[in-house]
């Protein structure tokens, strides 16, 4: 069950008209491709995608699930929006309530286990290994965890475990973290147990109907078997503009930390029919990740160019994340920025600044939202969001 209804308000203009999981990532992907592909690569053939905030683009993108091999006769990808019922109608009040409202969907497939995922992380993970762990430990609730720095720990859900990996304490965004094991937002539950807790949680009028705030603490309070599964590998929350930019830049790391090139564990995406990228005479492309359908005549360095972008003569793109179908006209200059989908950056526009040309306190990533046309000669300063 993939929770894809979040607004992702910390991505500001990038999620104004679209849900966070539909935000483009890494040249040709969208964030949701990662958890969806993880499911498929883990042998999961039934995925419910719970949508609520601005679902149009997401519905369109997932379609019948074919790009992820999830167009199945039985199971496959299902979009699960909130719906009206005979007596009530309700939006998804919280993450737990979203699953609660879809108990009939899960019951149709009568699974022993359910994995609860969120659509805002970039990582490759075989959920099967985690399920094996879940079974071996006799767990009813297994939470994937990663060691993080103590500073980061104050912003995340933190688990304390005993020697047997059993969870003995859980704190949401603790001021003084007792451990550095952060929840990755990946939960495996034994369905029968979860179902009962969801029903009980719904009956409690004081509950916020949230996994982190209510369900997990309830499991812990009742002493149900709960274990932390330590994940090793790349995992990044791309819920902020800085982290989204960072994760894109990680694609340029020659050691390939995300392990994108592992052909036995591919990340699938909906593909649009674009031709191979054309690099014209006079262009310069170095240390960059460039998707198909681009036409490059200018200079592109340390950047990620998404499908169908065009960079005209004399334009300079450095340290930038340029989302699909954006046109950068002659002589425009984009430095250390995220530029949204379908923008037109007119001639001579200057977006952002290299860190070395700017006092530390004034410097930051510049962000241009989707479908913006920036008039010729305009200047967007560092840290600005338009």
């Amino acid at each position: 069950m993939l929770l894809a209804g979040g607004q992702g308000s910390r991505l500001y203009c990038l999620t104004q008209d679209t849900a966070k999981p539909a935000v483009p990532f890494g040249g040709k992907y969208r964030i949701i491709d990662f958890p969806l592909s993880n499911c498929v690569n883990s042998g999961i053939d039934t995925v419910g995608v719970l949508t609520q905030y601005q679902p149009l683009e997401l519905n369109d993108y997932i379609g019948n699930g074919q790009p992820w091999d999830l167009n199945r006769n039985w199971g496959g990808a299902h979009i699960l929006p909130p719906y009206t019922q005979s007596k009530t109608e309700s939006w998804y009040k919280g993450t737990a309530n979203a699953i609660y409202q879809n108990i009939p969907f899960v019951d149709r497939y009568n699974p022993e286990y359910v994995v609860i995922l969120s659509g805002d992380h970039i990582y490759k993970m075989d959920y099967n290994k985690m399920l094996k762990f879940h079974k071996e430990k006799g767990s009813e609730c297994t939470i994937a965890v990663m060691p993080v720095s103590m500073d980061e720990a104050t912003r995340m859900g933190i688990m304390s475990t005993d020697d047997n990996d059993a969870i003995i304490d859980f704190e949401e965004k603790p001021k003084k973290p007792k451990s550095n094991l952060a929840s990755m937002g990946v939960y495996i539950f034994t369905w029968a147990a979860l179902k009962q807790y969801l029903i009980d949680d719904e009956a409690d009028p004081k509950s916020e109907n949230d996994f982190g705030k209510n369900i997990i603490p309830a499991f812990l309070r009742d002493g149900r078997p709960m274990f932390a599964y330590a994940f090793e590998g790349y995992w990044k929350d791309v819920g902020t503009l800085e982290s989204l930019w960072d994760a894109n830049m990680d694609l340029l790391d020659p050691t390939d930390p995300i392990n994108m090139r592992d052909s036995t564990f591919r990340i699938y995406a909906r593909n649009y029919a674009s031709p191979a990228t054309r690099i014209d005479p006079g262009a310069k492309v170095s240390n960059s990740f460039v998707a198909e359908g681009c036409i490059i005549r200018g200079s592109v360095e340390h950047s990620v160019l998404y499908t169908g972008c065009e960079v005209e003569e004399g334009a300079i793109v450095v340290g930038a994340v340029v989302m699909p179908n954006t046109v950068v006209r002659k002589g425009a200059n984009i430095s250390y920025a995220i530029v949204g989908e379908g923008c037109v950056i007119e001639e001579g526009v200057k977006i952002g600044e290299r860190p070395e040309n700017c006092p530390n306190e004034d410097w930051g990533i510049t962000v241009v939202g989707h479908k913006k046309t920036l008039p010729a000669g305009s200047v967007i300063r560092p840290k600005e969001i338009v």
């Binding site: 994108m260 191979a276 990228t277 460039v290 998707a291 198909e292």
Partner: protein, 373 residues
């Protein structure tokens, strides 16, 4: 759409050397991420044709693999869609191709079932183009002719032979029809596309093959035309048309798409060319890469220097490698410090570190699939 498409996937297979050792002509890779068949097939789809039969007689595994369930062309339809038409298991299987009518006989049952479409577009897959067949069909119907040939107007004397060369009057009515010859300026060269009524086609296939006659162009079209029993309308195509009839044409046509004058109209956004999706990651250009005038598909890792090259999916160019005028097909690796000029490298080839390969512009070196150089 009241027209069915039939694609011939074999023509010129013999002239294309090692490219067609283990694939038929329609399955030859082109343009970084396509196979030749993608162009004709996408044109049909973009023209609203929803019934397409693909005739295949020899080593068509690669083609089948590529066409898959036709989902990428939106031809996985309940009604109509794409149909592969392999040979019937008769005494002819494995025999030399005796002519287009022999192939078409395999499509006879198919043609008889497509009763809703009165017209058939017969198209050879050796042509790379992006054209709309709808105005061609309208012109065919308006002309009242038996057949409409799609052709290009030749401005220069041709070096090689065309399948058919025509002259036409001001009303685009064909006045002379010659086979397998060169074209003079003002002549029309056929591009292997023609429109004919389904009924006439079925009658011709039945009648001619029953008498052991298999050459569609010579024995039917030219023979009947010369006796005044067949009228031919000419539909002039002014779009980019690249013919892939031999290794040299393959090499030059492949590199020609780098030029925006060819590449932009061929890959126009309103009429996309569809192909099989392989889920490769985007291309990575290394810190030391120097790329100029290249067409590059997904999944490549480019760390060397390249000028005027086409790289298919998953190609790796090592540090210090220098490539000029090269076509490198899917999954091939060019080692560090290698030097290649005027070379066509088929799929899954390894060019070892420091290797030097140099062909001529007029005669490129071709490395066959899977070998190590």
């Amino acid at each position: 759409m009241n027209m069915t498409g039939i694609i011939f996937s074999e023509l010129y297979a013999g002239e294309l050397g090692t490219f067609t050792y283990d694939r038929n002509m329609a399955a030859i890779p082109f343009g970084g991420r396509y196979r030749l068949v993608d162009f004709v097939l996408s044109n049909m789809v973009n023209s609203g044709i929803t019934n397409v039969g693909v005739l295949a007689t020899q080593h068509y595994h690669s083609l089948m693999d590529h066409l898959n369930n036709a989902q990428q062309y939106d031809l996985n339809r309940k009604n109509g869609g794409l149909q592969l038409l392999p040979p019937f298991a008769t005494e002819n299987v494995g025999a030399n191709n005796r002519g287009k009518l022999d192939d078409l006989r395999n499509a006879l049952d198919y043609l008889e079932t497509i009763t809703t479409t009165p017209y058939v577009l017969l198209a050879d897959a050796y042509v790379v183009c992006n054209i709309d067949y709808r105005p061609a069909l309208e012109a065919h119907i308006a002309s009242g002719c038996d057949i409409t040939m799609l052709a290009t107007l030749e401005e220069e004397p041709s070096e090689g032979n065309y399948v058919s060369v025509m002259r036409a009057d001001a009303g685009h009515r064909v006045t002379s029809y010659a086979l397998d010859c060169t074209a003079k300026p003002g002549d029309y060269a056929s591009m292997g596309h023609m429109i004919i009524s389904r009924e006439l086609l079925i009658n011709v296939i039945r009648d001619y093959t029953s008498r052991g006659i298999y050459d569609f162009l010579r024995d039917f079209i030219q023979h009947e035309f010369n006796r005044g029993r067949l009228s031919i309308n000419l539909y002039q195509v002014d779009d980019v048309v690249l013919r892939i009839r031999n290794v040299n044409e393959y090499f030059h046509s492949s590199l020609s798409i780098i030029d925006s004058a060819v590449g932009t109209p061929l890959f126009r956004g309103d009429r996309p060319i569809f192909t099989r999706v392989t889920d490769e990651v985007p291309c990575y250009y290394g810190v030391e890469s120097e790329i100029s005038s290249c067409v590059i598909a997904d999944g490549c890792i480019i760390e060397g220097k390249a000028e005027n090259c086409v790289f298919s999916r998953g190609v790796k160019i090592g540090k210090g490698a220098t490539l000029k005028n090269c076509v490198i097909m899917q999954g091939s690796v060019v080692g560090e410090g290698a030097s290649l000029e005027n070379v066509v490298v088929d799929k899954w080839v390894t060019v070892t570190n420091g290797a030097q390969l140099k062909g001529l512009v007029s005669n490129p070196v071709v490395i066959r699939k899977g070998v190590t150089v």
